[in-house]
């Protein structure tokens, strides 16, 4: 530390915040030392397996497990009647049970759980279980489920249909705006279901000890909801249940519900008094699904003669599969997240989610915001073409300004979508390429936004903050961080360490992130809705500030300088204007612990009240939103229909990137995932039956197909985010699908409205176009091209 020459307090630059810090657990993971649930061993461990339903919809007449119980090596055989209490991630829609009770609702639903000495013995037991089924009518099409049906999949379905949820919203005067519009377009699109395809299959280990305590280790994104569900269904008080989250190999939303197999495993452990572990096979993961809903949607956009959007009209029908899961939220999101980065004075939404006899759909990365965004961004592109405008210009004219409110009363704070678009347009060479590349090559652009943490926790009672962080320091000078937020590979442990280290001015090696363990960690409501950096980051920052206050007091006592003149940094606490005067961090710790032997601090985060008062007003409200604009360049083999995405320019506003390396990783990973949904991934159902429950047949994108990605992190500091940060975990997925979709239109003159866009579909579309138009040609260039750099800003309304 050199003293500032002027004698003025030097502005202390951030040391850890904004640095490209490798993930703190990276070395453990790349050397195979990190422990996942399947790595855990306990003495006398039993293997648990679940017998699945072979029927998509049937009444269970009888289950006979007598013979199975006699198989040598079998410790317990459990059926649904033992723990029939329903549960589900949302308190209002409990419709799942640990094992099927009286009825099965999809192929793959758990019917009987067995614990035995090994897997072979479990299967031997399965072979001796007799289940008598009485088949029921099968519903595999939400368009059928929305009408009156002969058999309701759940009694709680609406009226005499199989609808799980229906949403109507109307703001302003949509029909009036539509009549007055100078231009309008309508797009209908179809989206196959996709699933998370994370690396680590679901796994759970449970142990019930003689003192009446249950411990559950599980690959979960949301230890807290699991904790609650275990307590409710097993009828054990929460304080006798301990939930531990080991390392998790990815989740993407697919590990954010409390799952039947977790509860069944705990029940087997209670039944046998021995530890039981269930590890899913890959096909079990596919049947458990909870992936993105198969979706049908229609989007209408109207604009006035000046190119200002006047109305947005959205309809969506979702295939929810057999359970509710997050479905009520999904149904809202598919509408309320449609407006996105644009201003619409009039908005109407009709959304419905149907129960079917498919494996349940649920939350998946960029939950509820992906499919609708594709339709909206394609519609914007079409509107621009109809008006003869460059699509970037049309977007610039319609962006929501920062610090504004949407017609459905979302509070918008920081918003750099304009900078995202300008950066992507500039870097991609848009002006030279748009409508100008040879046939078969094209460029497209699309925008997006996403919630940075759902404002409303799923459970309101008791009224707790969304996240709390405890810090504990002992005489060794190590700072132990207790936090319930689940690092599932996204890097939240690293963010915790960076935030705490930044505030205290200490190196990362002083900071120990304790495992997520409900016995020691305060509550965090989980890794979903891109809330962790924002909420946990704020809680951690406050906890660290509390600790800093105590340490600065100690340093003040030691040095005799006033607290206000002290600064933390370089593992010391020193006098700001005389940096050579100070104490080491350890000296301050020891002083602070005198006579107490303890030093700890806490901080928490609770989002401000926001949103309107109408029904469903909370859905989609968030303390901040990320914004994005991507440009993508594609090349199509017009003889085979194969699409190659050459490059993506990813303009992204995550506020201040706390760890740019980590943000770029999220953007690249999101693009990989988004391209999968766009080009090759789909849950292929034939009737109720999933045809491709394997990673060979479910086609995630291979590394060779990854485009070059240029990340353009152009956000400004968010006023409420920790150090100005917002989310970067889900939002980055959204714009890549429509950017490539629009690029395909630029390349081929064909709109693709049926995802995934597999080569055979591309070829068929080209053949149809040629038949219709007699030739293959690019769309015409717009009359209004972007104004050269500098003069691009349209005054917002």
């Amino acid at each position: 530390m050199t003293p500032a020459a002027s004698g003025e307090a030097p502005a202390v630059p951030h040391r850890l915040i904004g640095a490209r810090v490798p993930l703190v657990d990276a070395s453990l993971k790349v050397t195979g030392r990190a422990e996942y649930t399947d790595d855990l061993r306990r003495p006398n461990l039993l293997v648990g397996r679940i017998l699945k339903s072979v029927h998509p919809h049937a009444r269970i007449r009888k289950i006979d497990v007598t013979e199975a119980r006699k198989v040598p090596g079998v410790a317990a055989v459990l059926t649904g009647d033992r723990y029939p209490r329903t549960f589900g991630v949302l308190p209002m829609t409990h419709d799942e049970t640990a094992l099927a009770v009286d009825r099965v609702r999809y192929i793959g639903e758990g019917v009987v759980a067995v614990a035995a000495v090994d897997e072979e013995t479990c299967e031997r037991a399965f072979a001796r279980i007799r289940v008598e089924y009485e088949p029921l009518p099968v519903y595999d099409d939400p368009k059928v489920s929305r009408n009156p049906v002969a058999v309701k999949i759940h009694e709680r379905a609406l009226r005499d249909t199989n609808l799980q949820k229906e949403v109507f919203q109307h703001f302003g005067d949509l029909p009036g705006a539509w009549r007055a519009a100078a231009h309008s377009v309508r797009v209908s699109a179809r989206y196959a279901g996709v699933t998370h395809a994370f690396t680590e299959p679901h796994a759970v280990l449970a142990e019930y000890s003689p003192d009446g305590r249950l411990t559950v280790w599980s690959a979960t994104q949301v230890p807290h909801y699991l904790h609650r569900a275990l307590s409710e269904v097993l009828d054990l008080p929460m304080h006798r249940i301990r939930v531990i989250k080991p390392e998790v190999g990815g989740g993407f939303g697919g590990k954010s519900d409390p799952f039947p197999h977790e509860i069944a495993c705990a029940a087997l452990a209670m039944e046998t008094g021995r530890p039981v572990k269930i590890v899913f096979d890959r096909d079990d993961v596919f049947y458990t699904n909870h992936g993105r809903h198969p979706t049908w949607n229609t989007v209408g956009i109207a604009a006035d003669a000046l190119g200002r959007f006047t109305a947005l009209d959205v309809e969506a029908l979702l295939d929810g599969g057999a359970w509710s899961s997050f479905g009520t939220v999904t149904t809202y999101y598919n509408g309320v997240l449609a407006m996105g980065p644009y201003q619409f004075p009039n908005f109407r939404y009709h959304g419905a989610r149907a129960y079917t006899n498919h494996p349940p759909s649920g939350a998946m990365r960029a939950h509820g915001g992906t499919n609708i965004r594709y339709s909206v961004e394609v519609a914007v592109d079409m509107l621009a073409e109809e008006m003869g405008w460059d699509p970037t210009e049309l977007r610039l004219r319609n962006f929501l300004p920062p610090h504004s409110t949407t017609v459905n009363e979302f509070r918008i704070t920081s918003n750099s979508v304009r900078q995202c678009l300008l950066a992507a347009r500039e870097r991609s060479g848009w002006r030279e390429k748009f409508r100008a590349l040879p046939y078969g090559q094209g460029i497209g652009i699309a925008c997006g936004f996403y919630i940075s943490g759902s404002n409303s926790p799923i459970h309101f009672t008791p009224k707790f903050p969304q996240c709390t962080v405890h810090l504990k320091v002992d005489m060794d000078g190590g700072v132990t961080v207790h936090c319930g937020a689940a690092d599932i590979g996204q890097g939240s442990k690293t963010i915790l360490a960076q935030v705490v280290g930044e505030v205290l001015g200490i190196p990362l090696d002083r900071i120990r992130i304790a495992a997520v363990d409900s016995d020691t960690a305060p509550i965090d409501i989980g890794s979903y809705s891109s809330r962790v950096t924002f909420m946990m980051g704020n809680a951690a920052k406050r906890a660290a500030e509390d600790l800093r206050r105590q340490l600065v007091q100690a340093a003040s006592d030691l040095t005799g300088y006033a607290r206000e003149s002290l600064e933390c940094g370089g593992d010391r606490i020193y006098v700001r204007h005389r940096p050579q005067v100070g104490v080491s961090f350890l000296e301050a710790v020891h002083r602070a612990m005198e006579h107490t032997g303890a030093l700890h601090a806490s901080g928490s985060y609770e989002s401000a009240p926001m949103g309107g008062t109408f029904k469903g007003a909370r859905a989609g409200t968030a303390p901040a939103y990320s914004f994005s604009a991507y440009a993508a360049e594609v090349e199509v083999d017009v003889e085979t229909g194969f699409v190659r995405v050459r490059k993506v320019w990813a303009g992204f506003d995550c506020g201040r990137p706390l760890n740019p390396q980590s943000v770029e990783g999220q953007i690249e990973g999101s693009i990989h995932m988004g391209l999968g949904q766009l080009l090759s991934e789909s849950l292929n159902y034939r009737g109720p039956r999933l045809m491709n429950p394997s990673l060979l047949d479910y086609k995630i994108v291979m590394p060779q197909d990854m485009p070059e990605v240029e990340c353009l992190l152009v956000g400004e500091d968010d006023p409420e985010g920790p150090f100005g940060a917002k989310e970067a975990g889900e939002g980055p997925l959204i714009p890549v699908l429509p950017a490539v979709g629009n690029a395909l239109y630029d390349a081929l003159g064909v709109r693709f409205l049926d995802l995934p866009i597999t080569p055979d579909k591309v070829l068929r579309a080209l053949e149809e176009k040629e038949r219709r138009e007699g030739r293959l040609s690019k769309p015409a260039p717009p009359a209004v091209m972007p104004v050269p750099a500098g003069g691009t800003d349209h005054a917002p309304r």
């Binding site: 072979v54 096909d283 090759s680 045809m691 060779q704 197909d705 055979d760």
Partner: protein, 327 residues
């Protein structure tokens, strides 16, 4: 998913292997790299109680591309990296490189690739899945879900090497309880079978190795593969072409297809008439179309059959064109 218990035998010579085969007749499979067999065992697709590994038999590992002599246990990784193979029989080296993933190619062998189990999306499924639909002819059941009216299996031959080797007139040596024989590779794949017995291999026979005739002066060859993703995926179509031209006229032309029907096949009836003629855009287009209308894929793989047929014409054209262009 777990493997059922089996007994592993590791003979160190071919006679030993064949006598084990005699002993466990009908109760065993030969095991090479296991990359095809063992995943199928995990799905309980016709598992057997005995496995006779061929790995410890030294002569099966021989690899002399310069003599056109390849032992059955040669790993795909060795083939893809061999400069000798690439210069004399480029289509074969290319096909080896296109199989699965580097990890699979490190274990997978030439023999296993030629004898790879045929594939169908009603067959390559877990026991549970097949149980939920009802088992099919090819394993545990008595009907076909693809062509229900026939008592026949239409699972697709999905090996990459076979078409490449066929296009180059490879022969295979087979050794069994009844002696040794050598047959053209094309004869290993009878077209009139029931689809369940997929090769003409006799009970207990080992595929001992492959011989390739020395390439005639000016022979060029290529293998093109259609699949959804550039690695991992089995062929939805594989096209191998071997071509020799003499002063602009075709002196030798072979087209072989895999990944399309129950067996790989060579299209001699359609290519022979072109020998002696000049290849034009028109004749090439006609060849592609003729081949397309001669093939009959069914819908049991990821991409639809009509698309795969169309691509047959495209890839045949592309393959031939790329061989004529450089010459």
């Amino acid at each position: 998913m777990h493997l059922d218990e089996f007994q592993l035998h590791q003979p160190e010579s071919l006679p030993e292997a064949i006598s084990l085969a005699r002993e466990f007749a009908g109760q065993f499979d030969y095991l090479a790299g296991g990359t095809d067999l063992l995943p199928n065992y995990k799905m309980h697709l016709n598992p057997r109680p005995h496995l006779i590994s061929l790995d410890a038999i030294p002569e099966l590992h021989r690899f002399s591309p310069d003599q056109g002599d390849l032992g059955a246990m040669v790993r795909l990784r060795e083939m893809e990296g061999s400069a000798g193979l690439a210069s004399r029989y480029p289509a074969v080296a290319q096909a080896a490189r296109e199989v699965a993933t580097p990890l699979v190619r490190a274990s997978g062998t030439l023999g296993g690739n030629l004898l790879v189990e045929t594939r169908c999306f009603f067959f390559n499924q877990s026991y549970f899945w097949r149980q939920s639909l009802g088992f099919c002819l090819k394993a545990d059941g008595d009907r076909c879900h693809v062509v229900p009216q026939k008592e026949k299996c239409y699972a697709t031959f999905s090996g990459d090497l076979a078409p490449a080797l066929m296009a180059l007139d490879a022969r295979v040596r087979l050794m069994g309880p009844e002696g040794t024989r050598e047959i053209p590779l094309t004869d290993l794949y009878p077209r009139d079978g029931d689809g369940i017995r997929r090769t003409s291999l006799r009970a207990g026979e080992v595929l001992e190795g492959v011989t390739l005739p020395p390439p005639v002066q000016g022979l060029r060859s290529i293998y093109l593969k259609l699949r959804v993703r550039p690695s991992y995926d089995f062929p939805e179509l594989g096209v191998a072409v071997a071509l020799c031209q003499d002063g602009g006229r075709v002196s030798h032309l072979r087209v072989a297809l895999g990944g399309l029907e129950m067996v790989p096949r060579r299209m001699d009836a359609l290519t022979d008439p072109l020998v002696g003629s000049q290849l034009t855009g028109e004749s090439l287009r006609a060849l592609g179309e003729a081949i397309r209308s001669a093939v009959r894929p069914v819908h049991n793989t990821f991409l639809a059959p009509d698309y795969r047929r169309k691509m047959t014409a495209v890839l045949v054209r592309r393959a031939v064109r790329s061989l004529t262009e450089g010459s």
